[in-house]
């Protein structure tokens, strides 16, 4: 079982991201379970959502306390919420920022973690450019697909089209594609470095 925890703020599509992740995994024939942290969501308040992916029925209903991957939709949460709590030693970290981990002051925290599992994506910028709104959830999902290899970009695209339609869907597909390619390119550069 692969477990993803998504942190963000109310209004950033955190819950929708977990739901789309589960739809994408379902499209690939896998079992998936997405659920929110059930807070009283308000715009700007810290929000957590979860997604489990497995090859058999998922019965477990506890919150994800030891994630295999973290998606952090808002870097300002790093100073407010213990977002890294329980992350597995070889877990993936995706952060929505144009800065590096070192620039975010996270160098000590990620020391010893595999570099190819750490990734920053300027997801809000990509979303503003492609969707016209600061909703970083979809580009981050595509970035997660790129870095983890758990999902194909095509499945993320299908999940977008399941949730949205028309212009919003098209913009999000463009954002996903750009984020996916950016992360793949960064990974390839890292491999050749």
């Amino acid at each position: 079982m692969f477990q993803v925890r998504i942190h963000g703020r109310g209004g950033q599509g955190v819950v929708t991201a977990a739901e789309m992740l589960s739809i994408a995994a379902f499209d690939e024939g896998r079992h998936a379970q997405a659920f929110p942290s059930f807070g009283s969501e308000r715009t700007g308040a810290p929000v957590v959502a979860f997604c489990r992916i497995a090859d058999k029925e998922i019965r477990l209903r506890e919150p994800i306390m030891e994630p295999d991957a973290l998606i952090i939709q808002d870097p300002t949460l790093l100073h407010q919420v213990d977002v890294f709590s329980g992350l597995k030693p070889d877990g993936y970290i995706l952060i929505n920022t144009s800065k590096t981990f070192a620039e975010l002051g996270l160098a000590d925290l990620v020391r010893g973690r595999p570099a190819e599992r750490l990734c920053t994506v300027p997801a809000t910028e990509i979303a503003l450019r492609c969707v016209g709104r600061p909703v970083p959830n979809v580009p981050l999902l595509a970035g997660f697909a790129a870095i983890s290899g758990i999902l194909k970009l095509d499945s993320v695209t299908k999940a977008i089209e399941d949730k949205f339609s028309g212009k919003v869907a098209a913009g999000n597909v463009a954002a996903a594609t750009e984020a996916y390619n950016t992360v793949r390119k960064a990974l390839e550069e890292m491999a050749h470095a």
Partner: protein, 417 residues
């Protein structure tokens, strides 16, 4: 057809496949998504003929449901928590009059203190209301139970609450197999009411009944509810024949045949318990599970049969009988009367407290050694409770307890200064 969707949406689509003619509801979390989705289907014409009635309160929702059901319309509503309490008087009337309303209860705690999260306090507060109560373990089961509920309610002429864990199920996206309209039509016959308010053939419904006959009418409600114990297994078998899967029934055992310790629970927590039991079985522990699907009528014979070989029973429930202990546990104890089996009550998950595998492992291992109290509150923060009790001993005007406890654990409370 397999789909990945939200539990609320799945239930709404299943309800629509049952062709309800009147849906009336008042929004309350975590039930809202269900009736919103049904409302959309009525508005866009995909559920037709059906009248969706916005009402001003839960009391009105149940009152409208009573009226529409009495005219012979297949009637559906949904609620939770304080909403269920607010309609309580009408809840008793619906069952007393023998009206087959189907209602989803998206289980949520009851305040005060105000809390929107999941436990079973709401449904269990109405356990003696004369409604049947069935509890879903997964979203697939929630969907399936609604289809079975309409059939059962209408055959018995009694209302049914289909209970599903608020947020944990209602707001979870998972895989469900959505039946076709043809399958549901094949399974669920047209509603043939026993009583109808019809100007062409007038009757009155709702007589005043004095001491000369009240007991007999009430006894009939009990006798009719007990008929469900025979009907439900038959309907579940027919359901399997039409839809190809096991859903519903009275109780379900899991690895319980040779178990010394059996854990009894209702609803979605059964999944987490089964994962713990799998790990403990691998480590050689003789432990199993009994899931109660039907809570009212309570399947005493089946519960006794499933548990009588165990040395001890751990009833893990998301509810409590204040001043006594457990609610489900009392029912289980009655099923085990005169048997030499220890029954432990574990109150867990109140107000949405997460029930974790880690806590269950520790609990079950202690229970196996008979090293737990007769009544245990899982993961209770004893220090916080003791601190408040001490405060109340020391100061007469100790102030509101909930606010004091929130301050003690560092959550910003109502007191602003």
């Amino acid at each position: 057809m397999l789909k990945q969707m939200e539990g609320s949406r799945a239930v709404a689509e299943a309800v629509a496949l049952c062709r309800p003619e009147v849906v009336c509801a008042y929004p309350i979390s975590p039930q809202t998504h269900i009736v919103e989705a049904v409302g959309e289907m009525v508005k866009d014409g995909s559920l037709s003929p059906c009248e969706f009635i916005n009402v001003e309160s839960e009391f009105a929702a149940m009152s409208v449901a009573i009226g529409s059901s009495a005219t012979g319309a297949r009637t559906y509503t949904a609620t939770a928590s304080q909403g269920l309490l607010f309609m309580a008087e009408a809840v008793y009337n619906a069952s007393g009059l023998g009206l087959p309303i189907v209602m989803t209860v998206a289980n949520r705690a009851i305040g005060a203190p105000i809390n929107i999260w999941n436990d079973h306090s709401d449904a269990l507060s109405q356990r003696d209301s004369g409604w049947l109560q069935i509890f879903a373990e997964t979203n697939q089961e929630a969907l399936d139970l609604h289809i079975q509920a309409f059939r059962l309610a209408e055959e018995l002429s009694l209302p049914i609450m289909v209970c599903m864990d608020g947020f944990i199920l209602t707001h979870a996206y998972e895989r469900v197999d959505m039946p076709t309209q043809e399958q549901v039509d094949a399974y669920l016959p047209k509603y043939e009411p026993r009583q109808v308010l019809d100007p062409a053939d007038p009757v009155s419904i709702g007589a005043m009944v004095g001491p000369e006959a009240f007991m007999e009418v009430r006894y009939l409600a009990h006798a009719k509810q007990m008929e469900a114990l025979k009907l439900i297994p038959a309907y579940a078998a027919e359901f399997k024949a039409v839809f190809g899967r096991d859903s519903g029934g009275l109780v379900h055992t899991y690895k319980a045949d040779d178990a010394d310790t059996i854990v009894v629970a209702m609803g979605s927590v059964l999944g987490t318990i089964k994962d713990v039991v799998d790990e403990m079985r691998e480590a050689g522990h003789k432990i199993g599970v009994l899931g109660i699907t039907l809570f009212r009528p309570f399947p005493i014979t089946q519960v006794r049969a499933a548990l009588q070989g165990a040395k001890r029973v751990v009833v893990l429930e998301k509810s409590m009988a204040i001043g006594l202990g457990g609610i489900l546990a009392v029912n289980v104890r009655m099923a085990l009367s005169a048997l030499p089996i220890d029954v432990y009550t574990v109150v867990a998950g109140l107000g949405g407290r997460a029930i974790t595998m880690r806590s269950l492992h520790a609990l079950f291992r202690k229970a196996e050694k008979d090293d737990i109290d007769p009544i245990t509150f899982l993961d209770l923060n004893r220090a916080v409770v003791d601190k408040q009790l001490e405060r109340e001993r020391a100061t007469r005007r100790s102030g509101p307890a909930a606010e004091a406890i929130l301050r003690d654990i560092g959550v910003v409370a109502a007191k602003l200064a």
